[in-house]
Symmetry: C2
Subunit: 389 residues, 2 copies
């Protein structure tokens, strides 16, 4: 298949691109390097050094003989999107190219507006390009489990069959997300479902859990193929951040009581899920939703798991929760559809966490400890990172 | 109360502003004249001539002695919104200031993107201004009944209590709207609910039905106070358009079978609903939704009602439906909350339609008949009105 990976220079976009390439697909990547720009803005860097996209692509080509054509541009530029899709003529578009940090979206008004306009408009332009150029292109779109929030009923995969006053319908699963970032993905999902309905597009919306890990079979072939590993409070996600805190001898910071339960997925499974979704496309007109995670843990359980796996001393500290979210809640979310396609999950284990510790150990001199503590509070309209204009 | 009406130069914003002013409130209006710009773009005009905002404000002041301060600017300009809200210091913000035509949003990619970015970002900026300047300001936001789509279960007012696998929750009513415009309002509703949740804002989301009529008690005091009356296929809504077709001796055009059922409301009731919602604010932290319509009719029934009321000959013609929508569907939508606040509805009657006919008769020389037939098809990514670049 010809697969275009949007956001192909990012934490997951890059490992996905080379995983699909290794599987024999013709892959191209697109990026505007916004993620590298956020590093500059926030004054932090990936814990693991990463190469430029050109160097990564050369290293992959040298190692495997496989080419990865690249497109540099912004999805909010409709002409760029149109030209790229027409030129590469993909069978599948995998869309990672969105601002993906909840705290980043909550820095201030400018960051909230940037996140929603960047994500929603970029995605609209992708939908229009597909509809106009080739409506049979399968869109594989990255969403998040955070779109659902924490309802007091079971979370299903995108759709919910409701009986109300004696009548029944299957409706889009009602969502109540927890940040302007998560909201942008809810907006995307509604727009995509509509595009499938009116233009007969085919789409798979992947509501992904929190990804942990840094290596895949392909990235570990050469240091030049490494993907980024974020530990800062804006882009670092919970398990990765805690692994770093353990190695640094810092307390593992839990926001609030830690009763918040979340779906998790290993990066190795993420890239495999994208392959499975791409190789088994949705039908024409179908808006299909998979919940892309493999196990659910509370934040307190994640901290306990990391602490137990770490060979040294490890303390857990409960911080005042910077977010507005329920800390004790029901959580039961379906996630069978990717298993049905053949996913064999790599569950959280001491081995996996141990390998994370050794990655951190190797690069711990690069950590800026002041970048770990959260400073963006949901109840405040402007954080200390707010634009000063 | 001090009430700021955003979009105060529009079809409903203007009559609402002077209705609230007549009720004794201190009212200011804001507009960027985008609606007058769409007329220029589309080469049409309001059937009833309208004065400039300054002339309207002067006429209202001459007639009643009441002042209406005005702000000219764009809600996507955060600094403009912030300065205005700080300066006028409203108790209530009534937000009409969005692109409000479904066909306009479906012209092409550029118009879809404009509609969603204009509406979503403008609304985000209003939320941020309220949160930062005075979170006790009550936001009264215009949504649409079209956000719900046509589910096979009863439509409730914003929230739905669901029992699923033996557990119960009250969730945001799941929505499946029918255009990129309607989607923009769904996005707004999600963003507003979140702002109420994290910042303790208070908001009333008014899911309004299709408005008909052109005169209110206040606008009929002087021709200089008239509001616009749209008959073109982009901005003209169904009942108003059919009244014009009847007077012109054209067939009343029904899209598809006409089995589509919609909630309707008289313009006289719309302005009264805004007054009632403003004078009975939501609680702090409350995201309240009212379905703002007074009766449901199918499009075929609307055509029959107009034809029966018209004294001359009147033919009904079924056109191929330019939209993608169900033409035969279940429709039962709650609308009791505004009645509970004291709304006394003016239902569709021969008298009301008769007064519409006489307005049309008076101005029928201004009609461009070629602007009535629909040319924007939902299944096509670009209509004949698409930007040529």
């Amino acid at each position: 298949m010809r697969i275009l990976v949007l956001g192909g220079d990012g934490y997951l976009g890059w490992p996905t691109a080379i995983h699909l390439s290794a599987a024999g697909h013709q892959v191209a990547v697109a990026d505007n390097f916004a993620r590298r720009g956020y590093d500059e803005e926030l004054g932090v860097e990936s814990l693991v050094p990463i190469r430029s996209l050109d160097e990564r692509i050369s290293a992959w080509s040298d190692l495997t003989g496989r080419q990865l054509p690249s497109y540099v541009g912004d999805l909010t530029d409709a002409a760029f999107v149109h030209t790229m899709v027409r030129e590469f003529a993909p069978d599948t578009i995998v869309h990672f190219a969105e601002q993906r940090s909840a705290p980043y979206s909550m820095i201030d008004q400018a960051h909230a507006v940037y996140t929603q306009s960047n994500n929603v408009i970029g995605n609209l332009n992708v939908l229009y390009a597909i509809a106009e150029i080739d409506p049979s292109i399968h869109l594989v779109k990255l969403g998040t489990m955070g779109e659902y929030g924490t309802p007091n009923i079971d979370i299903e995969e995108g759709w919910l069959t409701v009986t109300h006053k004696g009548r029944t319908d299957t409706v889009l699963y009602p969502k109540r997300p927890g940040s302007f970032y998560h909201l942008s993905k809810v907006h995307d999902s509604h727009n995509i479902e509509f595009a499938c309905r009116i233009w007969g597009l085919r789409a798979t919306d992947l509501n992904q859990g929190i990804v942990y890990g840094q290596e895949t079979e392909e990235t570990s072939l050469d240091p030049a193929l490494a993907t980024r590993f974020d530990y800062d409070h804006v882009f670092g996600t919970v398990l990765n951040r805690m692994a770093i805190q353990a190695v640094l001898g810092h307390p593992l910071t839990v926001y609030g009581t830690g009763g918040q339960t979340r779906g998790l997925i290993n990066i190795v499974d993420t890239v495999e899920c994208i392959r499975l979704a791409s190789e088994h496309p949705a039908d024409r007109g179908e808006f299909r939703v998979f919940n892309q995670f493999t196990e659910s843990l509370s934040v307190a359980e994640i901290a306990q798991t990391v602490a137990a796996a770490y060979p040294g001393d490890c303390r857990i500290e409960n911080l005042e929760n910077p977010r507005v979210e329920l800390e004790e809640h029901y959580y039961r979310a379906a996630h069978t559809r990717l298993l049905d396609l053949g996913l064999v999950p790599h569950l959280l284990s001491d081995t996996l966490i141990g390998s994370l510790f050794s990655i951190v150990e190797h690069h711990k001199h690069r950590v800026k400890p002041e970048a770990i503590r959260p400073t963006i509070r949901w109840t405040s309209v402007a954080s200390e990172l707010a634009d000063r204009t």
